[in-house]
């Protein structure tokens, strides 16, 4: 019955709130720090336009010559076009966050139902979908994402879709393995024995118990999606110049490197790193909290 326990502990730990997390050792702290980073990043991006000292896309807010290093007026320096890096940092997270959110959403919409159905239905459907998913899973993710993004063209939605294609198999595999375990558990059998319909069993009895694992996969995938989105931007498949985006700044900053303009890449790079790190911490923390382990 370990899966039932997972569910109970999941609820038990999260309904009372974060405070109880502090008692969960390093995993709890990881979750707290991670969600702190993520929340502040999201908050910053949402509120950024109100707080940024300049319009992040305005040209030459700093008088030439540009790029200029950090100074009093421009604490993070300016880029080649004389745009204020601080403003761009404050507002630049939206693309990454949108892409990550959308891709996780797409994964959820595709991966979970397919996983549920395949594992529940079994037989040929299961075997074929597993084979398809496995071939995607074994494939180098970024290569596939790049190829698909290249075919579909630019834009946030297209980026999210191409990333989703790469990560759907993780959801599928997770859901499938969980369902296969839960399907055999006595209470599911009991539900079936008392005449519950397949649909009811799937939605009422199985799905709720899969949710914690999906949450873990999703948080871990957030980090991967952000890094993949940054990678897509770096190979020239990001969004255009008129949206402030850390990935774009980092990409364009590369040509300014030889002249020693470190500030142009350092700050956006650190922001992406922090965002990905936040999600990684939450993901790792949660997976440790929600997965029963041998206590040492």
């Amino acid at each position: 019955m370990p899966k039932l326990e997972i569910k109970r502990s999941f609820l038990a730990r999260f309904i009372p709130g974060l405070a109880s997390l502090t008692k969960r050792g390093s995993a709890g702290w990881m979750t707290i720090i991670g969600s702190g980073i993520v929340l502040s990043m999201v908050l910053m991006t949402v509120l950024g336009p109100w707080f940024s000292p300049y319009d992040p896309t305005a040209i030459n807010v700093s008088p030439p010559p540009n790029p200029s290093p950090p100074s009093g007026d421009f604490p993070l320096g300016t880029n080649l076009l004389g745009q204020d890096m601080l403003s761009r940092i404050l507002c630049g997270g939206s693309v990454m966050i949108q892409v990550a959110l959308l891709s996780v959403l797409f994964c959820f919409i595709i991966g979970v139902p397919v996983g549920l159905l395949a594992s529940y239905a079994g037989g040929m459907i299961d075997r074929i979908s597993t084979l398809v998913m496995d071939s995607f899973y074994a494939f180098p993710g970024l290569v596939l994402a790049i190829a698909i993004a290249a075919m579909m063209g630019r834009g946030v939605v297209n980026m999210a879709l191409s990333i989703a294609v790469v990560y759907v198999p993780s959801y599928f595999r997770m859901v499938r393995s969980q369902v296969l375990t839960i399907k055999e558990l006595p209470y599911t059998e009991a539900a079936r024995a008392t005449g519950a319909k397949g649909q009811t069993v799937l939605l009422r009895y199985i799905l709720p118990n899969v949710v914690p694992s999906i949450v873990v996969v999703a948080t871990v995938n957030f980090a991967d999606a952000i890094l993949t989105a940054a990678g897509l931007t770096f190979v020239g498949l990001g969004v255009g110049i008129d949206v402030p985006d850390w990935g774009w700044d980092l990409t364009q900053g590369r040509q300014l490197l030889p002249s020693g303009s470190w500030w142009v890449i350092t700050f956006p790079g650190i922001m992406i790193l922090l965002l990905a790190l936040g999600f990684t911490l939450v993901g790792e923390g949660l997976s440790e909290l929600l997965t029963p382990r041998l206590e040492r």
Binding site: I59, N66, L81, G82, R154, G240, I241, R254, Q255, P258
Partner: protein, 564 residues
């Protein structure tokens, strides 16, 4: 006792590993020092570039900058333009032709050829090779060749062998810039042995492309200052080229001997950053195309390198698509185009994006070219009062903004396209009555969108094939640009007449007036708006001499040398 022994043994094992590592390092360092010491001083000149031959260095097909540079250095044309000149009529020098005359009706050009010039296999160059080269180019007529290259037949009617050393070109109509045309790389003389053999029926399949492992079979020319003796490509891009002096070069004995450097290695870098760091580190002697604006600015203060600036023939312009497939008919109104043009601030683009390494351009003809004017200055730079009032006439205001889409190319085909577009957007929007949406496409899609005519406003660029105003002024008429003004432009009939006259004329003063007229009409219509003119940049070690960066855009490797 035993314990001590154990630990001693452990220590000795660690020591042995450390000793082995140290010995290996010392040995490698020793051999390194020895081999470095023994290495003979390098005789080759190494040039670095980020360019690459696109697909072929066959004059019948190549239409890319670097392919032409290699053609120029390995092949030879009938006439050449004097290095460092501005390509006026007096600047054409004999090359494979020693003398030429034009008939009174301006239709027939007769060339006397240089005698005793030999191909690498010892065959003597003669009039039949000239006829062969042009017949081949016109026969292959490759749609992807240079625009006029593919339309040789609209200029040249036939090439006739008069005698062994005399050849005659019969034109379709009088053509002023004919010598300029003959001096361009598409007119390099090919060696029939490597160009498909003596025959008359030509097709696209006869183009000579790169062949892995066999350099000589990969190009057709034979008479230039250099022989291409090694050419490696990795994954469809150039990796390294080796040029060795051609012992049969006709001009070998000229002042001090040409080429000046016996062996030149061309090393290809993936991007400007790598190229800049290579020249800085001294890995290469010469860096030519492309080093980014910030890097040029940076290197100008570096005492270990020399930065050369020259006239650039590359121009960037903005095209207002006439009737962009059903979306913005307003652009058909010349008043809107003029208003938008007035919003532009050319010097701001040049200073912001290019750190003043490009210069504002107010005529379709670049500065340094016959017929260059300042016509577009009439509309001014950031002339917002004019723009706002013109647009107000048409009902556009801060509440009813003119909405336009500005396209840029995103895969690096033009320098800093995205940054430029961001600047133009801010300039248009500074008027307060224009709302710009930026859109980007990679180069192939951009090119196709251009052919389809779906982009409202987009950026385009040009560098010349042959060095003559004719090769710029035609941009107003280039069918492949597909901006449609040719049929519908208000002043296009007058412009076209002036253009045709200028083309046929060989009298410079006459042509200057005609091109000025064309520019004036262009300002009235604003179909194609010049923005900036590029400068040419090269970075070398301080002791490299013989760099010519002139309007011809020809990179004359044969004149480069290292001063000891």
């Amino acid at each position: 006792m035993k314990k001590v022994k154990n630990s001693r043994k452990a220590v000795s094992t660690t020591m042995a590993i450390v000793a082995i590592v140290i010995i290996v390092i010392v040995v490698i360092a020793g051999i390194y020092a020895y081999q470095t010491y023994l290495a003979p001083p390098r005789k080759e000149l190494i040039m670095g570039t980020t360019d690459s031959v696109e697909s072929a260095i066959d004059p019948s097909r190549a239409w890319d900058f670097f392919g032409w540079e290699i053609i120029q250095n390995t092949g030879c044309t009938l006439v050449e333009i004097k290095p460092g000149s501005s390509a006026t009529a007096e600047d054409f020098e004999p090359a494979l032709a020693t003398d030429w005359t034009l008939s009174a009706d301006k239709i027939t050009w007769t060339f006397t050829l240089r005698e005793g010039v030999e191909f690498a296999d010892g065959t003597e160059f003669n009039a039949s090779h000239v006829k062969y080269s042009f017949d081949r180019a016109m026969g292959i007529n490759h749609p992807e060749g240079m625009p006029l290259g593919s339309e040789f037949d609209t200029i040249i009617d036939s090439v006739e062998v008069v005698s062994k050393y005399v050849v005659e070109f019969n034109l379709v109509q009088p053509f002023g810039p004919f010598l300029a045309l003959l001096s361009c790389q598409a007119c390099a003389i090919v060696n029939p042995e490597y160009a498909g053999g003596w025959k008359t029926d030509w097709s696209e399949d006869d183009v000579v492309y790169y062949e892995e492992g066999d350099v000589r079979a990969s190009h057709t020319m034979d008479l230039g200052p250099y022989n291409l003796v090694d050419w490696t490509r990795v994954a469809g891009k150039d990796n390294e080229m080796r040029l060795e002096a051609n012992p049969n070069y006709w001009n070998r004995d000229a002042d001090g001997g040409l080429p000046k450097t016996e062996v030149v290695i061309i090393k290809f870098y993936a991007d400007a950053t790598a190229l800049r760091l290579a020249i800085e580190a001294g890995d290469i002697d010469v860096a030519f195309r492309h080093i980014s604006a910030t890097d040029i600015e940076d290197l100008q203060d570096d005492p270990d390198v020399k930065v050369w600036e020259g006239v650039g023939a590359a121009i960037q312009y903005m095209i207002f698509q006439e009737d962009p497939v059903g979306t913005l008919p307003q652009l058909n109104n010349a008043k809107i185009r003029r208003a938008l043009t007035a919003c532009l601030n050319r010097s701001e683009v040049c200073s912001t994006v290019f750190l003043n390494q490009m210069s504002p351009l107010y005529s379709i003809l670049p500065d340094g070219m016959l017929g260059h004017t300042e016509a577009f200055a009439e509309l001014g730079d950031a002339n917002l009062t004019y723009a706002i009032s013109e647009l107000a006439d048409l009902g556009y205001s801060e509440t009813n903004k003119l909405e336009i889409e500005l396209y840029y190319e995103s895969s690096g085909h033009y320098p800093s396209s995205a940054e430029q577009a961001a600047v133009y957007k801010s300039q248009f929007e500074a008027s307060g009555v224009v709302d710009v949406t930026l859109k980007s496409l990679d180069w192939p899609s951009y090119r196709e969108a251009r052919s389809e005519g779906t982009m409202h406003i987009y950026l385009y660029g040009w560098y010349p094939d042959y060095i003559d105003p004719d090769n710029y002024a035609f941009l107003y008429y280039a069918v492949w640009l597909n901006h449609h003004y040719i049929e519908n432009g208000e002043h296009y009939a007058e412009m076209k007449a002036a253009y045709d006259d200028a083309r046929a004329s060989s009298v410079e003063s006459e042509r200057i007036d005609l091109y000025a007229e064309i520019d004036d009409y262009a300002v009235m219509d604003c179909p194609v708006v010049p923005i900036w003119q590029g400068a040419a940049w090269a970075v070398t070690k301080p002791n490299i001499k013989g760099v010519y960066l002139d309007i011809t855009q020809t990179w004359r490797i044969w004149l480069l040398y290292e001063e000891s």
